[in-house]
């Protein structure tokens, strides 16, 4: 489904990703862990199409297409969804308006008829139950005045509505209390399907108790330095990132 080959990315002339490789197949759940500043969000933003990041080398193939040639909106239409680490507030734009526009824009891309107001309302209502969201969150302006937890939950709610093929969650679990964390995990698991893949970017292994990854990758200084199964996450939790970094320096010397 997704193949990232030798990806090099610069921000303001500084190299952040330094030859990253990653392959994600349908039905898989990947977790990317790494210390602050290692480039996790950079990877997520690059996948979503943020143009302030400069790709200097490498390629990204998504469902056989050259992803880097697509605009952010076309990537979304092709089935990529990125849950922002810091969701953006958009004053004056109702949450429900954004979602209906987005969904209908994606439907249009696939040659489908737009959903009518009532159809959309019904669909949204079902999804809100999963996310245990208050009705008024739909009417409120996108993320405006939302608490940290509400913002994160709203991201997953959007994912539920848009039903992407590949979802990249950028630290959606950070800053959540355990109840909110469970709701977020339920929201992700509810979408789980053999046709879909997830990349769960996280700083803590805690969420992986609820969303079981098939693979865990450790991102340090712009490169994946270690990959393994779920047990790698537990090991990281116990020993910290320092252990990997030491191992890496040892290997280099």
């Amino acid at each position: 489904m997704l193949e990232i080959k030798n990806l090099h990315v610069n921000v303001e002339d500084q190299e952040i990703l330094k030859g990253l490789n990653l392959k994600v197949n349908k039905g898989e759940v990947h977790s990317i862990m790494g210390p602050n500043g290692s480039g996790k969000s950079t990877l997520a933003q690059v996948l979503a199409g943020r143009d302030s990041y400069k790709i200097t080398e490498g390629e990204i193939i998504f469902e056989g297409k050259d992803l880097l040639k697509l605009s952010p909106e076309d990537r979304a239409c092709e089935g990529i969804f990125m849950a922002f680490q810091y969701p953006v507030e958009i004053p004056g734009v109702a949450n429900t308006y954004l979602l209906r526009e987005a969904l209908n824009s994606i439907r249009k891309y696939h040659g489908e008829e737009p959903l009518k107001h009532i159809e959309f309302a019904k669909f949204a209502k079902e999804k809100m139950k999963v996310m245990d969201m208050e009705d008024n969150l739909l009417k409120r302006a996108v993320n405006e005045g939302f608490s940290g937890g509400e913002k994160k939950r709203n991201e997953i709610f959007q994912m539920q509505i848009l039903e992407p093929k590949l979802a990249i969650l950028d630290e959606t679990d950070s800053g959540l209390d355990i109840d909110a964390l469970k709701i977020v995990a339920d929201g992700v698991n509810a979408l789980g399907s053999p046709e879909r893949a997830f990349v769960i970017i996280t700083h803590y292994q805690r969420i992986l108790d609820y969303i079981v990854p098939d693979f865990v990758h450790v991102l340090v200084d712009g490169k994946i330095v270690k990959s393994g199964g779920k047990e790698l996450a537990l090991e990281l939790e116990k020993k910290g990132y320092g252990w990997i970094e030491e191992e890496k320096t040892a290997a280099n010397s």
Binding site: P72, E73, A76, P87, V88, G92, L98, S105
Partner: protein
């Protein structure tokens, strides 16, 4: 014979001498002396310069340099079909139409209003409602420091006159539509509106300035609106002057106890625009909502000068002005809040937000709080910025096209100032104007 006004060769003085002989109400001593006092003041003050702190950001030299005719005709150029684009769909209004600031009986629609309500043109009211005029006219819009108000007072001829007696609810909006036509030379009009709303009333009034042609003229407007106790009034100012016109407009509102006003300004036209809004919250427990939207492009200059005066205790005022600036246009928001000594428990809030769509557009925003009471809450905030790239990316990442995302953000910004409008027909009208503005912009960019 037409009268020409200019700063050259004593033009204003001589023009006035000719004007005052035939002006409406020239037979009334009180009016005559008011006009004379006003012209004297105007000649003494002259047009303001940028040395004057209130005009720091706005240079009216293009007005001072011009010479203007007082147009006496133009009525033959306007027919009912010209009005349609400026009417509000689905709204049954009472409509006074003015052509070059002179009343057109043929084009006006004076539909039935509740008993005792008087809606007519000022020139006629000078004869028939002399007492009310004598008591109120120029009693609120002071001209001792205001050259443009002095000029208007000296040369006023016509405009809207609205009188709403105690306890009357006027459901129908009252629409004052001012249409400019082209004369041989640049022209001047001095529309003068007087709106008297007594206690316990409700009304909505729309002032609307439009042009049929792309000519140079000066609309120098003064509106006095006196709002009685417990009354609730919505006032709308829609400014769509020609791209070459000057529009100087002063709205002076006097609020009695527990009254509630909502002032909405939408400025789109004109080359040089000055929008003065001056409510005085004179009685206890008043509420003022003062909202506006200015959208400028090319070399338009739009100056909003707010003077919100809290005189009595327990009054709330809320100002929200949003500006969208494109091309080489320039915007000004000068927001004064004056809290007088007795106005304890004042709650005043002011917000001015600006969105710059071009690198060459510019805006000056200046809050000015003058607080003489000690137990008050006054806040102000201003922002100037481009379209939020983060918001744009966020929307696009959800599958919405770049153009649509842009539109969503822009519409949210402009709607912010419209959403408090209670007249849906006017709100829709303004929404269409804004959509049109963006469409024009898009077309211009394609070419």
């Amino acid at each position: 014979m037409s009268i020409t006004l200019s700063e050259k060769d004593n033009g204003y003085k001589e023009g006035f001498a000719g004007f005052e002989k035939t002006a409406p109400g020239s037979n009334l001593a009180w009016l005559k002396s008011m006009r004379q006092e006003a012209i004297t003041k105007f000649l003494e003050l002259g047009f303001p310069t940028q040395q004057n702190e209130d005009w720091r950001f706005t240079n009216v030299a293009p007005i001072a340099r011009s010479s203007f005719d007082i147009l006496v005709n133009g009525h033959d150029k306007v027919s009912a079909s010209h009005l349609t684009p400026y009417q509000f769909e689905g709204e049954d209004v009472c409509e006074l139409v003015f052509i070059n600031s002179r009343y057109s009986k043929e084009l006006s629609t004076l539909s039935k209003l509740p008993e005792g309500v008087i809606v007519k043109n000022l020139a006629e009211a000078i004869d028939s409602q002399e007492d009310i005029l004598k008591e109120n006219l120029a009693k609120y819009a002071e001209f001792k420091d205001e050259a443009f108000t002095a000029l208007n007072t000296a040369f006023m001829e016509d405009g809207g006159f609205i009188y709403i007696p105690k306890g009357t609810i006027v459901e129908k909006p009252i629409h004052l539509l001012f249409i400019s036509t082209k004369g041989e030379n640049p022209s001047i009009t001095n529309p003068r509106n007087l709106i008297i709303v007594e206690d316990n009333c409700q009304a909505n009034i729309i002032e609307h300035y439009v042009s049929l042609e792309d000519n140079v003229y000066l609309s120098n407007v003064v509106t006095e609106m006196v709002v009685g106790e417990n009354s609730s009034v919505g006032h709308y100012l829609i400014e769509l002057e020609s791209k070459k016109a000057f529009n100087i407009s002063t709205l002076r509102i006097q609020q009695a106890r527990s009254s509630n006003i909502r002032s909405h300004s939408v400025l789109l036209g004109g080359s040089l625009v000055r929008n003065n809004i001056h409510p005085v919250l004179a009685g206890e427990g008043c509420n003022s909502l003062i909202n506006g939207l200015y959208m400028s492009t090319h070399r338009q200059h739009m100056d909003n000068y707010m003077k919100v005066e809290h005189v009595s205790p327990h009054c709330d005022s809320r100002q929200l002005y949003n500006g969208v600036l494109d091309g080489r246009s320039r915007g000004v928001f000068h927001g004064r809040i004056i809290v007088h000594e007795d106005a304890q428990k004042t709650d005043a809030k002011q917000t001015n937000r600006n969105l710059l769509l071009s690198d060459h557009a510019q805006v000056d925003t200046k809050p000015q709080l003058e607080i003489y009471a000690d137990d008050v809450k006054c806040t102000h905030g201003a922002t100037i910025g481009q379209i939020d790239e983060n918001a744009l990316f966020y929307l696009r990442s959800r599958g919405i096209s770049k153009e649509a995302s842009r539109d969503i953000i822009l519409n949210a910004f402009t709607n912010e100032t419209l959403k408090s409008m209670t007249l849906d027909s006017v709100k829709n009208y303004c929404t269409d104007l804004i959509a049109d503005w963006f469409k024009q912009r898009e077309l211009a960019q394609k070419n």
